[in-house]
Every structure is written in C-alpha cells, then in structure tokens.
C-alpha cells in the first residue's frame, strides 16, 4: 500500500479555503442526510418490487424498439431478447431503465402495448419514483438530465451520496488541497478546484452522457488537485506513506517523485473509464479524468507562466 502524505496535516489557518470547502461539504451532507435517506429508502423499496421492475423492463424494451436511434446496438439487441420472451432479462432492463434519461423523461407519455393491468400499476410506481427524485438531494443538487444548469455543475461538487463517500473525499481534499493551497495560494487553489469540478462535469456529459442517475461528489475536483500537484512538482520528491509488510523497516515514510501519483491515481481512472459500461457503472471515471486533465493543464500553465517564481530544489 502506498499513500501520498505530501505535507501531511497543515494548520487550518494556513489553508483556510481547503477547510472552508470541507466544512461546506460536511454541512451540505448534514443538511441533506435525512431527506436523502428517506427518499432513497422509498425509491429502493419501489425498485425492489419485482413485478414493477419486470414491467418497467418490458416498457423500456418497447421504448428502445420505438426509439432505436437513441440506443447502441447492444442495448437494442437486449431489448429484442427481452421482448422475445427472455423474462429474466426484463428485470435487468427494468434496473437499466431508471438510469436512462430519455426513458425517464418520456416514459409517462409513451404509449405502451402490453399487459395493461401491469402497466397501470407500473405507471403508479413510476410517478412515485419521479416525485421522490424531486425531493432527493442527490437529484436536485447533483447533475442529471433534469438538473443540468450551471448551478448543478457547481452544486454537485459539494454533494455526497453517503458517509464513506464524504469521508474519503474529504481526507484526500485535506491532504491534496492543503498541499496545493499552501504551495500556490488560496486564489489559484480555489480556481483550480472549482474549474476541475466543472471540467469533470463537462467530460462526464461528453464521455458518459448525462443520465438519470445523478453525478455527485468532490472526486473530479480532487482529481484536478492531483493533476495540478503532479505537474507542479513533477520530478521533485514528495512524502509518501508505505506499508509493505508488518515488520520494522517495511513500513513508514519515503520520498518518491511526484509523477508516481499519475500511476497510482490516474491510471486506475483510465482503466475504469475503458472498462466501464456507461449504462451500468456507478463510478464516474470520466468525471475524474476530466478533472485530472484540467488540473494538469492548470499545473502546466502555473508552472510555465512567466510570472511564477522559480522554486528551489
């Protein structure tokens, strides 16, 4: 295991913007947790109804058959297979339907030709889901087909889907944000952080497509900070914590060149993006990559900007 410590924990007064962002994230999380849990539980309960999911899968399959131009071949084949009587696939299609923005937008107006009793039951549940999504913080603060304004491009960066999501992001933010802010100052740090988030949203919408499942979390902005730190330090050695074996001398602190972060942080995102199927994935690798790319660009600009003071070492 290897983990970048960079400058470790820095006094909050030296990195006010980092701690302010951490606090904003924490406050948003605390303010939303109740309504998040409530709507999430209800949505999951509805989706655990096998009959509803089955009918939704069949409706979605018909929807794909009538709007083939909007879907790629694999999904079209899958819809065909479902309608040909592969009822097992219908449940899977039902799960996919809820992630598809076009379906979520038009499903209620779509004329379904099938089991009318099941369809009327499904419509009732579907309306409930749509209503619940309206009060779900991840939906109105996150970035999705229904909430795609500039406000959402910013607000998604401060919204998290659970405690562990928030905890790990904030831990990396304190380490990386603290490092960048102490190195380049508050203004550049804040600009990089927010711009990376926007770039993450842009690359997500271009590479994965804005779906019905909201994009939330500070990961894209943090990836931007990673990219910035890599370029800013590049071949200079930074502190890492390593743990190889549970024996003395095989764990501790070491100094390694900053570009190692590229291998540790950015390569897994590239792999994730190449291996994930946008319809099934739950991690927005494309957003991470967009954020990291902006961070790298910002780092290059900062590094080679004529006014940047040359650092010793």
């Amino acid at each position: 295991m290897i983990f970048p410590l960079l400058k470790g924990l820095i006094h909050p007064l030296k990195i006010p913007a980092t701690f302010l962002i951490v606090m904003v994230n924490a406050l948003v999380f605390i303010a939303c947790i109740e309504s998040f849990d409530r709507s999430q539980d209800k949505i999951e309960k509805i989706l655990s109804n096998r009959e509803m999911l089955f009918t939704q899968g069949l409706v979605f399959s018909q929807f794909i058959e009538t709007h083939p131009q909007e879907y790629h071949n694999q999904l079209r084949d899958f819809a065909k297979k479902t309608l040909a009587g592969d009822w097992h696939s219908a449940h899977q299609m039902g799960g996919l339907a809820i992630r598809n923005s076009s379906f979520m937008k038009n499903a209620l107006e779509f004329k379904v030709d099938g089991n009318e009793i099941a369809v009327s039951g499904w419509r009732k549940h579907f309306k409930e889901i749509v209503a619940l999504q309206k009060e779900h913080p991840s939906y109105y603060l996150g970035l999705n087909y229904d909430h795609n304004s500039l406000v959402n491009w910013l607000s998604y960066q401060f919204t998290h889907s659970g405690f562990s999501h928030l905890f790990w992001n904030m831990l990396f933010l304190i380490l990386l944000g603290g490092f960048v802010e102490s190195e380049v100052g508050t203004a550049v740090f804040v600009a990089t952080y927010l711009a990376s988030g926007l770039a993450g949203a842009l690359s997500f919408s271009l590479l994965s497509g804005i779906s019905a499942i909201p994009l939330v979390g500070a990961s894209a902005s943090i990836s931007g900070l990673v990219g910035f730190a890599i370029i800013e330090r590049w071949n200079q050695k930074i502190d890492f914590f390593f743990w190889l074996l549970p024996m003395q001398n095989y764990f501790g602190l070491t100094k390694l060149p900053a570009w190692i972060l590229l291998v540790i942080f950015c390569l897994p995102d590239v792999a994730g993006q190449l291996s994930s199927v946008s319809e099934f994935g739950s991690i927005a690798y494309s957003a991470h990559l967009g954020g990291a790319a902006l961070g790298i660009c910002a780092g290059l600009i900062y590094r080679f900007w004529p006014a940047t003071p040359v650092k010793a070492g």
Partner: protein, 636 residues
C-alpha cells in the same frame, strides 16, 4: 532443499551453510524479495488494469446479456493478456533498469551470476517466463529462496541470475540449518496442497464446462415454455392448422401438461407481443389463481378486451366456479351447448372442453364429464389425455369391466409414452384394489410397455408403478436386483430397498426410507404411497393416530387413495369406529361410486349400533345411486 539445483555442485554437509559455490555478493534476503513483490502492486496493478480494461468491458456486457460463452472467452483472453503483460513488465524493467519498480523501491537488483551486471535481454525474458510457470505452480518454487545455498529461486537458476541487495547490511548468506529444515517441512504439505489445488481447479473447470454446455443449450432453445413450443410445432388439425400459441398453452394447462409458471411465461409473451390479448389475460389470470385479487383483475380484463365474446363468457364462468357460485358448472355447460363454441377456433374449443371436463371430474359429476369426453373425441391433439380421463372416470364409477375394455382398446392404438402412461395408471388402479388375476394381466401389459422403452428414465410415479406391477406379477419373491436395474429415480431405488427390508423384517430401516420418501419425493402420489406403507408398518394406536392427524390435512385423496384405504383398514382391524367413520366418510366423498365403501361402513355401524350414522350413509348412497339395490341386504 525444495528444488535441487542440477547445475550446482552438491554442497559439503559441513560447510554448506557458510560456503556458497559461486561467489555471489550481497545476496538479497527472502523477506526483502517478499517486500519487493508486495511493493510491485501499486505500479503493476494499475498498468495491468489499463491493459485488461477492454476485456473487463466485454465481460460486463456479456454478463448482462447472459452470454456465459462470451464471458468464458473474455476471461481466457484476460488471463492470457495478464501473463503477456506480466512477462513484458518484468522483462523490460529488468532489462532497462536492472530491477522492477518493487525491487527498485526495496533496493534490490537482478544481476547476471557470470557477468555481475545487468542480465541480457534473453536472460530477462527467460526469467519472466519462468516466473509465470512458477506462478502456475501457485508460487511454491519461490520457497527455495529460503533453502537454496545461494538463495536462488528456480527462475534465478534458469536464467543464470541472482537478486543482489544494494545495502550490504541487509545481505544474507547461505541458509541456516533452521531455514532449510523449515523449507523441508513445508515441502511435503506444500506439494499435497498443490495437488489438492490442481484437483479443485480441474473439478472447477469441468463443472464450468458442464455449466457452459447447459448454458449453450439454454441459449439455443427459446426462452419460452418448451412443452408449449413442442405442442405448437407439432400441432395437427385440418380445421385450424395455425392455432394461437397462448391458446395451445391454455389447452396444455387444462390437460395438466404444463404448470402455472409455464402458463405465466406464455401469457406474458402473448400480452407483450400483442397477440390474442384476451387469451393472454385469461392465461395470466389462471396462472395467478393463487392470488385472489390478481386473478379477478385479469379475468375482468378478459371481458374488457373480448367485449362479451366466448372467451369472456368462459372467463366469467371460471371466476364463478372459483367463487363457488357455479360449482354445478352451468355457465361452461351452456357455453358448451350454445352455438358460440362451434364457431370458435378448434384450439379454443379444446381448452374450454378440457376445462369443463376437469371441473366436472373434480366435482364428481362423472357422467357429465364422460359426456364432454365423448363430445371432444374428435380433438386429435388431446386424444391420449382424454382416453386416460375416460378410463379414470369409468374406474371411479365402479364400471370396471367397461374401463378394462376401454383400456385394451386405447392401448391397442396408442404408442410410446402415452401408452406407458395409460398402462401405468391402469395397473396401479388394479393393484390398489388388490392383486387379482385382472390386476396381474394389466400389470403384465404395463411391464411389457415399460420394458419396451428400455433405458429411458420415467417419472417417479411410473417407476413406482413399475415396482407395484412387478410385485403383483411376480408370484413369488420380487427380483429386487433386476427390478432395480430398470429404475432411474433415487426415490424408486429407496422404495425398492425399503420393500426388501420389510421382507427381511428389518422394519426400522424400512421406516426410515419410507419416511424419507414421504418427505422428499417429487410426486405427491409417491409420497402418499410411502405414507401408506408407514401406516401398514404402524403397530400402535398412537402411531396410527399420528397418521390420522396427517390424513385430516390431506385433500387430494383421489390422486392416490392408498394411504386413506390403508388407514381405514387398520382402524377396521382395531375396531375404532369413530376413526373408521371419519376416514370412511372422506373416502366416500372422494369416491362416491364405490359401493363397497358404503357396505363396509354400514356393517360397521350395525356392529357398533350407530343407527344415525347408518341412516346417513344409506341416504348418501341413495342420493348417488338411486337405482342401485346393493345395500338392500344391509338392513338396519
């Protein structure tokens, strides 16, 4: 030592610990090499995951599409790519930098034993290939790092290299005695573990292959119900050669050839393909008949779709039957006599008639059921089923001579599985009423039919009947070995063993087997038979009363009455009139045309001076058979 180094001189026992035979400097400690291996992961894993990403992508899609073949293919490609990737990683890093990143981090270098510097490209490649080979042996060869005099693992020796430690203080010498001892002790269990792992791996591969084969079959057949597909493809009718698929499914359902789950699949198919939606709703309603609300909802929907047509009338009749309003089946009967039915497609007529016949049979309106069967005689696709139904009804009506004649007539023109079903049922019916000459003749026919379909596994019930038939046909003791050879089902084998144990008077073992069959057999009839055998073995009244409680919870006496008759006879022997009356009344309800039941009950009532009960039985008899004089001699 774990592996002998064929190129090295066997070390002198006394000096081997301190005197390596090649003068290698600063040999890396095994623990450092292990740490280097762990340290490799943060670099190697991300690089490998980029390389494997396209395969992972394919696997995700294949899994979602349910194509196990594609998954297996992508996993194999992934495995091969991993090995190629690993070989490239090891070779290039060692060739260009003298160490992989993990070794670099820990301060180790790979060095040629002869030149004392970076190894050549061939040496690096050979080294990497050897590591892959060792990996396939679950890394056991790596143990020689603690036992080899120069701490050289197999891949070091094959490539004439060794791992050097840059820090002189951390370097080690030839292994100590304790280390060698440790390696030696690990060797035997290590190989045993490896063999076990290989065995498990092959078992896994073979099971995966089996699964793959199954999956291929699954992929090749239609996902719908196979019996319906078969019946639909082999449908023969001059009037209606191209029937609706869901109507065929309904007819198969009414003739008890498919179950609820199968009908439900077909109903969904019809509804979502927008074909015969009225029948689709009807089929879905029938398949969900255990859920009252849904059943009514779908049956009502039939009429909204069919707008008062014949299918709607039928659906309403089915709903009325279910709610108990029309147990006399007036509505379906009116449909049968009305003009509507004759104008319907043939397959619609089939399932409606089959339904009516089944309902009439279930409600003991046996003559009416026979009438429906006669009217349906022209139905070619269900002739076998109707022949068997005719036989069953005649038997229940005590018209045994006619039933036997009908059996012989039907058997003469039926073949294969349907003939076996017919003779199997006839033999079991005969045997259940005692193994007499007629039974022997019917069972001999059945045995002949069964033997004709040699080596074809039959249902549990047919195999049970085969045992019953052999028991009745063989005048002396049953030939357990030869009968056993003809059986495929585990429960039939258990049953045969249990009978043998009873013959040997080993009742404990027999009871256990009967109990096992009564609990586990797939066929309900088989369960009943095993329970009947348990009743036969019961020696105390307490035991019998336990079975009496079980009897009260059963409501399918007609399917297999053996259990109830056995209980009835046991209580008769014990002289427990109350229980005899309770079981007897249930039997009369199930078999209202069995005159012998009324006679026995009347005799018992007389014996125990139960006048009211006798009157009740006599009244019931008169109601069922007003013209019969069979009970005249049984004066009260």
């Amino acid at each position: 030592m774990v592996y002998e180094d064929l190129f090295s001189r066997r070390p002198d026992n006394k000096n081997s610990a301190s005197e390596p035979h090649l003068l290698l400097e600063q040999i890396a400690a095994p623990v450092d090499r292990l740490a280097a291996f762990v340290g490799e992961m943060p670099v190697f894993v991300p690089l490998l995951s980029v390389l494997l990403a396209p395969f992972k992508h394919d696997i995700s899609i294949a899994q979602f599409m349910g194509s196990q073949t594609q998954v297996a293919l992508s996993v194999t490609e992934m495995l091969i790519t991993s090995f190629v990737g690993f070989i490239a990683y090891q070779t290039l890093f060692v060739y260009f930098f003298g160490a992989t990143p993990g070794k670099y981090f820990v301060g180790l270098r790979v060095v040629s034993v002869f030149a004392g510097k970076k190894p050549s490209f061939t040496m690096c490649l050979l080294r990497s290939l050897s590591i892959v080979f060792e990996f396939m042996l679950l890394g056991f060869p790596w143990l020689s790092a603690i036992s080899h005099p120069q701490r050289r693992v197999l891949h070091d020796r094959l490539s004439d290299t060794y791992v050097k430690c840059l820090d002189r203080k951390k370097a080690v010498f030839a292994p100590l005695f304790v280390e060698k001892q440790l390696a030696r002790n690990v060797q035997a269990p290590g190989w045993a573990f490896l063999l076990l792992a290989v065995a498990i791996f092959f078992n896994f591969v073979s099971s995966e292959r089996r699964d793959l084969k199954l999956v291929k079959e699954y992929e090749s057949v239609e996902q719908l119900c196979q019996p319906v597909t078969d019946a639909y493809q082999n449908w023969h009718s001059d009037i209606d050669p191209d029937p609706s698929r869901v109507a065929v499914a309904l007819a198969l359902y009414e003739s008890q050839n498919i179950d609820d789950a199968c009908l439900e699949k077909e109903a969904h198919f019809s509804l979502w393909r927008n074909q015969d939606k009225d029948l689709g709703y009807l089929a879905l309603g029938l398949s969900l008949s255990n859920e009252d609300k849904k059943f009514s909802e779908y049956i009502d929907k039939v009429c909204k779709t069919d707008k008062g047509g014949e299918v709607c009338q039928f659906a309403m009749a089915v709903e009325a039957e279910r709610s108990g309003v029309a147990v006399d089946l007036r509505l379906p009967a009116s449909l049968e006599h009305g003009s509507g039915l004759s104008q319907m497609p043939e397959v619609h007529r089939d399932f409606i008639r089959l339904h009516i016949e089944r309902q009439l049979h279930e409600h003991n309106q046996l003559s009416a059921a026979l009438e429906v069967i006669e009217k349906s005689a022209a139905t070619p696709n269900f002739a076998d089923y109707l022949n068997l139904e005719r036989l069953k009804i005649m038997w229940e009506m005590d018209r045994m001579l006619e039933a036997r004649a009908a059996f012989q007539a039907s058997r003469a023109h039926e073949t294969g599985a349907s003939r076996l079903q017919l003779s199997s049922w006839m033999c079991s019916a005969e045997v259940l009423s005692g193994c007499k000459n007629e039974s022997k003749s019917a069972c001999a026919d059945f045995v002949a039919d069964y033997d004709q379909l040699d080596n074809e596994p039959q249902s549990e019930l047919v195999e049970l009947n085969y045992i019953r038939a052999q028991k009745c046909v063989s005048a002396e003791s049953l030939d357990y070995v030869n009968v056993g050879k003809k059986l495929f089902s585990d429960h039939a084998h258990d049953y045969l063993t249990a009978l043998e144990l009873v013959e040997d008077r080993k009742y404990g073992g027999a009871r256990k087997l009967f109990k096992h069959i009564a609990d586990q057999a797939e066929s309900e009839e088989f369960q009943f038979q095993a329970t009947a055998d348990l009743v036969k073995l019961a020696s105390t009244k307490i035991e019998l009363d336990y079975f009496f409680e079980e009897f009260l919870s059963k409501d399918n006496l007609r399917a297999e009455p053996n259990f109830a008759f056995e209980l009835f006879n046991k209580y008769l022997t014990l002289g427990d009139f109350d229980k005899v009356a309770a079981v007897g009344e249930s039997l009369i309800k199930a078999f209202p045309y069995k005159t012998s039941l009324y006679t026995t009950l009347l005799k018992e009532a007389k014996k125990h001076k139960r006048v009211k009960f006798a009157q009740k039985i006599r009244l019931q008899f008169k109601k069922m058979m007003p013209l019969s004089t069979a009970l005249e001699s049984e004066k009260l």
